[in-house]
Subunit: 143 residues, 2 copies
């Protein structure tokens, strides 16, 4: 397992344990984690607090994103993909996209390299959550 | 002046008075304001706290965005446009796009109606800010 993806999965499981949506994210630059977070929609009542947004928020004002890699347990939606494109993050590594296709093509069309690890562990985590909480999941993706 | 755009401008000026970036946003549904906010990058050290994100965060978990209109004093960037597309906001009204072209075409390509009021007041507010704070502005848009 990619060690940074493992941290993202740990973030997702931490969110799940708090009653939240199990999606985690990590921002890496120069081989070090400079931000990490998980979805906080439920915990903070904040529909913008997707995992990637929480992660980038926690990284703080780092000035620029050149050379950084964003990890997420799930393919980013348009909100989070928009952040990737706007702030010039050029590489995104995701745990899976089977449970949610996200905005892969949008990122790629803006020159972002998107790597999908297609991990059974990430699929199982989301499948289980969506089956148990379909309304919460649909709310999170605006459906 | 559109009364909702006036509230967005007031939000922008409030942020400016606190040392922040002068961009404001308002979310309207059924003719009433259900959320408003301004850019808080400086005030909260949060690079994700663009005006539209702050506004949508403040609106809270409203369940769906059908019939809602997002106002912003400035054309949304990809981050904020991504939120618009992801959450199904179908109409965006902006104060101007002369100082920043934003992601108008991206939103339109996803069926969003984008109305640009091209207000001299909004242009002057941003022009003055960018001239005085070019580094802060470039940081806000990831450049």
């Amino acid at each position: 397992m990619d060690k940074f993806m493992q941290v993202a999965i740990d973030e997702a499981r931490s969110g799940l344990n708090d009653g939240g949506i199990p999606i985690g994210s990590v921002l890496v630059r120069n081989g070090s984690i400079i931000g990490q977070g998980h979805n906080l929609r439920v915990q903070q009542g904040d529909p913008m607090a997707h995992a990637e947004i929480s992660c980038l928020r926690n990284a703080g004002r780092i000035g620029h994103y050149r050379g950084s890699i964003l990890y997420s347990t799930l393919m980013p939606c348009y909100l989070c993909a928009g952040a990737v494109v706007q702030f010039g993050i050029k590489k995104v590594i995701v745990g899976e996209s089977r449970t949610f296709p996200g905005a892969k093509e949008f990122m790629e069309s803006h020159g972002v390299e998107v790597v999908d690890l297609d991990l059974d562990e990430c699929v199982a985590m989301m499948d289980d959550f969506i089956n148990k909480n379909p309304e919460l999941w649909n709310e999170d993706i605006g459906e």
